[in-house]
Amino acid sequence: MTVERAIVAMSVVLGALLVVCVVVGVAARLVRRLRERRRIRSTERIRPLVMASMADPQHADALPTTGRDGRAMRALVVALLPKLRGADRNELASILRRGGQFERAHRDLRSRSSHRRIAAADLLGAAGDTSADAALADLTRDSRSDVRVAAVRALGRLGTTHGAQAVIGALSDERVPANTCTMALLRMGRPAGDALLEALAGPSGSERCIVADLLGVLGTHEARQMLEDMFVAASDPNERRSAAMALGRLGDPLSAPLLIEVLEGELARAAVDHDVAIACVEALGLIGDRRAIPILTQTLARSHRLSFAAAEALAPMGPRRSRRSIRERDDGFTPVTAILSGRSSRQPVAEHEPRVRA
């Protein structure tokens, strides 16, 4: 009897708990929905005021700076700033400055609330306030990963050398996605190039690979010698591949002899490192130096992947000579005919990846 009562009591308690959970869940959802509706209404109310302020700065005094409307105004301006350039962008940023929003954001970077730290980083980054770079660099080591990500994003928009160094530091941070860092560095352009040059001699191999890739994409020509050294000295094939591709992207003909020499060496080996050889071929194709035509022509007779890469590299290299080289080697082999007929060869490579021709 006692056991039965205990079971009944337990069931009642569990049932009551379930009901409470459902009620709390529904209430939380309702509150979220209500807040979202209020936010949307607030934004709709503020939008015409922001637009009017851009047209006539005198209207900026009417903009709310505190409370829900103040938050909506800041969110709207932060969303608008990256979509604009020129005088209107500057006007929008100065609306924030005049309203004391920059000072407030600087204070909020040290707020206990992570939401505030994120909102402040977003605002200062979008408005391009370079005086915030040191504080944002500190935030890349925040206790919360979403704040770190916001800081990296903001530093990418600021584009300062100090910020670039902090973002490069975040490359080794597992809590910040690598693509957030690379996008930030690419956005920075030149200042990132200077900091990346220093990082190319860093201790982490995977980081050096990313740095080499970025230097190539950014076209940092000062990196050529360092990338060539990395290409020759690195023992990790990934590093060699990244260095080769970066050299290709830089497109400096001075790198062609080294790439040709390494490719010749690879082709002479019994066990060709396909990844390194293909990186050499692709880099030579990007550089477009005609001294590479003989070795690339020779590569047409190698494995399927290599011949495909060589055909791709040769195709744009010269109107007559390289095309003749491809045709001379064209014995009905798919990649070569595909390229000669103007079709993209990328898809067939993927489809026939495992097929290797001896």
């Binding site: 939008r47 015409p48 637009m51 009017a52 851009m54 047209a55 709207l76 969303a79 608008l80 990256p82 979509k83 604009l84 350039r85 020129g86 005088a87 209107d88 962008r89």
Partner: protein
């Protein structure tokens, strides 16, 4: 006063372009998807269309091609306002029949100037 139709799905950009062109003295109408935009082009017969590329339902490029294929709409100048900034995208945009091409992030003042120039050129 010229009638300008802005077809753009980004609310902020739509409001901004509307405010800027209204300030320049134009009568501005807006739509937020390609299908409604094309219907509005047919019903309004605007003097100029500002068109985003990446639109729901019909892309900006499809709207542009449809306009150029319609004898009643083919004369209406189109400015493509898009985040697609690659050279090949620009070629595709002009091949679809756009008269001008502006990439995002953009300058609203530059857009207003281009609108004025295009309207002036077509009114001659």
């Amino acid at each position: 006063v010229s009638t300008i139709l802005v077809i753009e799905d980004d609310t902020d950009i739509r409001a901004l372009v509307e405010a800027k062109l209204t300030q320049s003295g134009h009568d501005v109408h807006t739509e937020n998807d390609g299908e409604a935009g094309l219907a509005a082009v047919r019903s309004l017969a605007p003097d100029l269309v500002i068109l985003d590329w990446m639109l729901p339902r019909l892309t900006g490029l499809e709207v542009c091609v449809a306009m150029r294929a319609d004898d009643d709409l083919t004369h209406i100048p189109v400015i493509l306002l898009t985040a697609r900034a690659q050279e090949a995208d620009l070629e595709r945009g002009f091949a679809a029949g756009a008269d001008d091409y502006l990439t995002k992030p953009f300058s609203p003042r530059e857009l207003a100037t281009r609108v004025a120039v295009l309207l002036d050129r077509t009114s001659r």
